[in-house]
Amino acid sequence: MKRWQLILAGIIFVVAVFLPLVIRTDYTLQVLFRVFLFAALGLAWNLVGGYTGQLSLGHAAYFGVGAYGLALFAKLGVNPWVALAIAVILALVSAAVIGSVSFRLRGPYFALCTIAFAEVVRLIVKNLPNVTGGDVGVQVPLLFPTSTIRSFYYAALGLTMIAFGIIIWTERSRFGYYLMAIREDEETALSVGINTPRYKLLALLISAAITAVGGALYASLFLYIVPDQVIAMEISTEIAIVAMLGGAGTALGPIVGSGILETAAELFKNIFQEAHLLIYGALVILVVLFLPEGIVGTLSRKLHFFGKAPTAPLTASPLPGAKEEAERVSAE
């Protein structure tokens, strides 16, 4: 984490806290709610996808479990906040199950397996109308006594701050170094004694918990949910794209990515109307083609290039014996 990223994040958070004082329309606040909601989700995804290198495309499963957990337990008469806690526990359980199977797979198989799990969750919710309401949907209770969008905005902002805090802590902790070691080379990480299955699962559990809270917030704002809306593959990809656009494996990335993607998506909806998905798809293609490291990732590299040279060599240490060999050659 470079200092400029931390400062920028600080500025964004301070501005965000005071923003509702200036903004009067509910519509703008709703867009901003979405920005911070997906910033939090992107940060949560980043812990598994960006730092650990396990590129999940099934986070809609935890999002949906959070949303449906809140709705269904509240329907049984449980206090909404207790229902939220139960929903998070359910998301942790499903993450443990999904992780234990999918973490054994690598590359595209991991991503495909996470999609398949999310689809299975969606189809189960869809096909059990007696329990979940099925395609008809289910009502979600309000988490806040006042129904204003402002409380939801602050809740999403708070979730983003918590997720950001976790990422910052992770980046500096032994845990975070373990995760990054797994991303760079899992076999090597295993061979130096890192319990890779345990740390991958731990990263996923944290990620799933935040995602479930996000799903519950989203559902509570809309008051009514159907499976195709909250457990959709589109949610999974949107979370991943937010993080990739901003920069996978950077703390600031998902916040920047969400700010750009969510406002752009909203603008596209208003300007291009029916063509907004076309523009959105084209944007995804352009990011993959031209910004594979994301905005913050690319910027960070550029700034690094023009910044002060580091005292320690950036490149990998020379092969053992290479130094002696060089000295021997120069002595001759």
């Binding site: 590129l55 495309l57 199977v101 054994r104 797979l105 590359g107 595209p108 198989y109 991503a111 495909l112 397996c113 999609i115 398949a116 799990f117 689809e119 299975v120 189809l123 189960i124 869809k126 096909n127 990809t237 991943a240 794209i241 990739m244 029916e274 063509a275 907004h276 998905l277 076309l278 959105y280 798809g281 084209a282 944007l283 995804v284 293609i285 990011v287 993959v288 083609l289 594979p292």
Partner: protein
């Protein structure tokens, strides 16, 4: 549940399964030779349906001829997709390829929706109302039967092409080792471009053959996005004969699931099988020979 209902379900499953097999062979070819997880495969199928539909509406061309046009169009489209979008990012993580093909899929579906609208269409040909009766209890829908026969024929043609021509041999060489294939004088870019085109054409042709028996709408291909990969995994990564067989198996499994548990569980069973195969036998069930 009597015996005839079971037999009918199995036969219907086999008819669907041949078309699934053709779709899966295209996907297996693309995945086997290039390691590309193609999330545009469903959109390719949808394009094939629309091309056949346009040929039928504008030129009065029977869909059982029109599918050839769909195949040619998708071959070109696939080749261009590979050359313009996928070749530049070769060597990047698989995940980026998945994102890119997902983005392309969105673009294609929305473009078709802008041009043709979101309405459902169905074509009307004389064959649709005909049934072939096999005994007192069993009857097979004639257009399904024709689609089945053509899909089977094309699947065998594709198999022959990959296994017994110089081009197929070059493609299989790249699948075996993409670094030594160019050392043997194989033009990797050209072979991969053509392979992607053929894979897309297989999806397009399957779309053309599905047109007489399916509703047509822009998102019709979405159900095949993940399903075609389920078949590729089931058949053994990149094995085209395995994928074809997996298509038949999946067709029958879906048909039986619909019979006993209801139509809505068919897709869930597909994905459950997918997860089970990935976690228990990642090399697939049929054969281990790669494309």
């Amino acid at each position: 549940m009597n015996f005839y209902a079971l037999l009918q379900a199995v036969l219907n499953g086999i008819l669907t399964g041949a078309l699934y097999g053709l779709i899966a062979m295209g996907m297996a070819l693309i995945f086997g030779v290039m390691r590309i997880v193609n999330f545009t495969h469903g959109a390719f199928l949808m394009l094939g349906m629309y091309v056949t539909y346009v040929l039928f509406q504008a030129a009065g061309m029977n869909p059982y001829v029109g599918f050839i046009g769909a195949g040619l169009f998708l071959f070109l489209f696939g080749w261009l997709t590979y050359a313009g979008l996928l070749r530049p990012i070769r060597g990047q993580a698989d995940f980026m390829v998945i994102l890119l093909t997902m983005g392309l899929s969105l673009v294609l579906i929305d473009a078709v929706q802008l041009i043709f609208g979101a309405d459902y269409h169905q074509i009307n040909i004389a064959l649709l109302s005909k049934n072939v009766r096999l005994g007192p209890q069993i009857s097979l829908n004639a257009p399904w039967l024709v689609s089945f026969a053509l899909a089977l024929l094309l699947a065998f043609a594709l198999y022959f092409f990959v296994m017994h021509t110089m081009f197929g041999r070059a493609a299989r060489a790249i699948a075996q080792n993409r670094y030594s294939a160019p050392l043997m004088g194989i033009n990797v870019n050209r072979v991969q471009g053509v392979t992607f085109g053929i894979g897309a054409a297989a999806a397009g042709i399957a779309g053309g053959l599905l047109l007489p028996v399916f509703y047509l709408f822009p998102e019709v291909g979405n159900q095949f996005r993940l399903k075609s990969f389920v078949m590729v995994v089931l058949g053994g990564m990149g094995s085209i004969q395995g994928a074809a067989l997996a298509g038949l198996v999946l067709g029958v499994v879906e048909s039986l699931t619909s019979l006993y548990w209801g139509n809505e569980w068919a897709l869930a069973v597909d994905f459950a099988i997918f997860i089970l195969v990935l976690s228990l036998k990642p090399n697939g069930i049929f054969g281990s020979q790669r494309v």
